[in-house]
């Protein structure tokens, strides 16, 4: 299991993570980020990609 944290003070809702891990990150009807705080290990590559592409570097994997 992977634990995901997003610093919502940093997050600017650019939505880049949504392209990399669409099962875990989404923009809601108000264009605000919503995400799953836990993910299956099979999603690790996608979560790391989401971390990498965040322009605000707001996403963290809690090891």
């Amino acid at each position: 299991m992977i634990k995901i944290e997003v610093d919502m003070d940093l997050c600017q809702h650019y939505g880049q993570c949504v392209f990399e891990a669409p099962n875990l990150f989404t923009l809601n009807d108000d264009d605000k980020l919503e995400y799953h705080a836990e993910a299956d290990d099979s999603e690790r590559d996608n979560v790391e990609a989401a971390v990498d592409v965040c322009p605000m570097q707001a996403i963290r994997i809690v090891e």
């Binding site: 600017q12 809702h13 650019y14 939505g15 880049q16 923009l27 264009d31 590559d45 790391e48 990609a49 971390v51 990498d52 592409v53 322009p55 570097q57 963290r60 994997i61 090891e63």
Partner: protein, 413 residues
Amino acid sequence: MSGQFPVISAPVLIVGASMGGLRTAEALRRAGYTGPVTVIGEEPHAPYNRPPLSKDVLSTGVSHDAVAFPARAATADVEWLLGAPVVSADLEAHTVTTIDGREHPWRALVIATGLRSRRLDLPLITGRHSVRTLDDAIALRDELIPGARVVVVGAGFIGCEVAATARKLGCEVTIVAPGAEPLIRPLGAQLGAELRRRHEAHGVTFHLGRTVSAMLGEFEFGGLQLDNGEIVPGDVLVEAIGSECNTEWLDATDLDLSDGVLADTALRAVSTDGTARHDVFVVGDVARFPNLLFDGVPRRVEHWNIPTDSGRRAGAVLGAWLAGDGAFDEVVARGFTPMPAFWSNQFEVSVQAYGLPALNDGDIRTLQGDLSGAVAVGYYRADRLVGVVGLGLKAELLPYRQEIAAHAAGGWA
């Protein structure tokens, strides 16, 4: 180190310890390569994120910890040689040499040395700054005190962001640039003029269409004389006039260094005779590669996402090659069509862009909104969207990003 055969236990050697080098090392591990990896970097710092250098690092006093990329368990055994500039490479002997004279053998080489700030051709006196590295930003930060007269030469993204940050800190800020508007090359005159108006509303002064003819001050910076004779007095000079490729260490090789380092779509370095090296890769700002999202023309792309995208691509191809299994051809055939993306914050304005707006053929359209508020501007070539820039828009730009991306599947035939 000599002999014409590479030592099999020699590491994958990544030259350049910034975002591109880091992402390449991570992608090698993701691809299943478990052998040695060494990263050699000129700066003393572990990889960090550069966009905050012109913003938070200047304004809030943050240190390396605040901008460092998190280290991952998979790359815990990567060897880092920091503060060690590489001065030359021998692609036949499979070595590079650092400034201390040490030779470092490699099994495969990744070129990730990026760019450095271009500087004005002026005497070296105190008060001259540029913003490329963390140490640059920390040195400038100490001078951005309220009331200081800051002269920024260059009106690209770095120049405009530093100007906005300095103004917010209470400095008197003047921008000098040769273009008719700030950001005119990446964004065009219309958006450039709007951004100028927003800077001016915050008290930034512009001298546009001007170049620097002389610098005032014998030991400390005192101001600039412009080409029309006008004097711009100042205490701090920020040179934001673009960048130069760090490729001098490759001068003795046969690689194509005509603008950065030429690479194929697998990001393998290409020699002047047009052949790609199977064991030398190029990533990041310094890589000139074809992107079939637009056409087959190799270009360098200095956008934030490129080191990550190219590092992932090079690491995947190199990892498959090192594995020596049947996956290599399939990995190469996946192609490489990264979507250029960048973000900029200047005062209350957030600028976001996808694609390559500068490829437009003069066909620039307002897609939604209007210039005085939130707006999306589309840049077209041959009636196809090649770039989109938004002011104050974020999620609303994503459909335009998709439209640009759709060209990759359709091709340009």
